[in-house]
Symmetry: C2
Amino acid sequence: MKTVNIALLGCGSVGGGLVSLLRDQHEQIRRRCRVDLRLRKILVRDSERIREGVDQTLLTDDPEEVIESADLVIELLGGLEPARTMIRNALVESRNVVTANKRLLAVAGTDLHDLASVHRVRIGYEASVCGAIPIIRILRSHVNCLDVTQICGIVNGTTNYILTRMAEDSSTFAESLEEAQRLGFAEADPTLDVGGIDAAHKLKILAELAFDQRVCLDDVAVTGIEAIDGSDIESARRRGKVIRHVARAQRRGDRIEMSVAPEELPRDHPFAAVRGEENAILVCAAGAGEIFLRGKGAGSLPSASAVLGDVCDVATSN
Amino acid sequence: MKTVNIALLGCGSVGGGLVSLLRDQHEQIRRRCRVDLRLRKILVRDSERIREGVDQTLLTDDPEEVIESADLVIELLGGLEPARTMIRNALVESRNVVTANKRLLAVAGTDLHDLASVHRVRIGYEASVCGAIPIIRILRSHVNCLDVTQICGIVNGTTNYILTRMAEDSSTFAESLEEAQRLGFAEADPTLDVGGIDAAHKLKILAELAFDQRVCLDDVAVTGIEAIDGSDIESARRRGKVIRHVARAQRRGDRIEMSVAPEELPRDHPFAAVRGEENAILVCAAGAGEIFLRGKGAGSLPSASAVLGDVCDVATSN
């Protein structure tokens, strides 16, 4: 059986979830994927701190040591640097990479994909968009042979949680945001989420895959949900509508139109039933028609499960 | 660029849809999948009959001629024979196979998969369950590394169409069935559909993939929808419920419990919004949580799109 040595960069919420899945699913992965995944090193800022369920001897704060230990590098640091440099180094040394870093992919995805192609290695990034929902996989394979006409989704759990609370408990925007932060759905600095920038990053990743062409982040018309208040939600409700924060990309001739904005949707729209921190995606492709997907868009284990799926794919593919 | 020669067995509704997709998507498939798919022969009963959009010179009624023309054989004949013998012959001669034949897979899937494994070729069967919904792909890859605890779905468009009509138009069972036949959703002999046998076939295919073990068709407790009448639906509605025909498989210790039966579901259950001939699937896997999928479960182009996705996968994989 093939053994694949894994280095993990970052051991926060998703990293911790991945460590536990790698342990719990080790035998199943050996049996079903016929690969022996060995976690060799974990890069952390403080290698002295005890992390529950994590083997202390794997921790290191030395970036070079961690990359050298691996055939496959999993990047869960988030943000642009040092993630970008470490992924580039791994690719240049012909190591496969799996990442959940939507911001980095939105900003530097083309460069990283080109580098992977030159060095004949792969980048898996299912976990970068919509957590446990396998939308990247579906765009890369199932509908890859079809003309996609539109893709839209609820791709940010924080804004959906806030809008749901405001509609169902009559909470204010501020109260709902605070609750989301308390529950760990929202970042300490929620600007990227509530302002729609995080959703725009994800939309760029989806649109480039769906339409097989480069798109520009600046071409996404972004409106956040900061200006939504109780009266907007109540007014929508009176007209049989619900407000959802929707990321949308569609082909218009040669152009790809992209927006992230609060939209009023009819109560029987599939997105209307997507509540709390859930995510959902609707893809329209020639022949297939509409395919709707819904699931956990974030969180330790859901995101880690998508990372693990990529790891198994990449580990068994070459 | 690699050229893959294709033989098509059967040119009915799905076959005709596939011929048009192979033509319309030919350039996109060359560009995105880097493979040149060439349809070489089509096996039909009457090779003299004109079929709109189908090149008459490809038609033949000679089974040997058609198989010999191909690297990849697409079986869309349906039923057990001659489909089984022709697929076996193709596999033994190391030709890849793509099929939409759920009945054959439910009855003889193990034998065919073993044969494919011995001859180092692949069988694609996404179109055998839930048309355009990529559930086979997701079970084979995305959640393959996770413990699946349950999979359930609305996997038969005919029974869902009938139940929807009965609830929304107060039509009788007989009127709704007749309407489904008129629209082409239901077979001339609807016994396999309304009796739940077709759903049981699909459930067996899903359960074996999800739980990675053989299950027996006889172990599916099957109840059709023939006994459902307007008063059942009305009574459910008064209690805030809807009736759906649900196929369900779940792990209980070492056993897999399987059933196909009408179930009363709360109005906010994801299946309650699945109307008409649509299909839907809910998979629960450790870590990922619930993943819900919904889309066109049958019909010429939706089923053909799933066949085409498999064809591209298989054609590019070896």
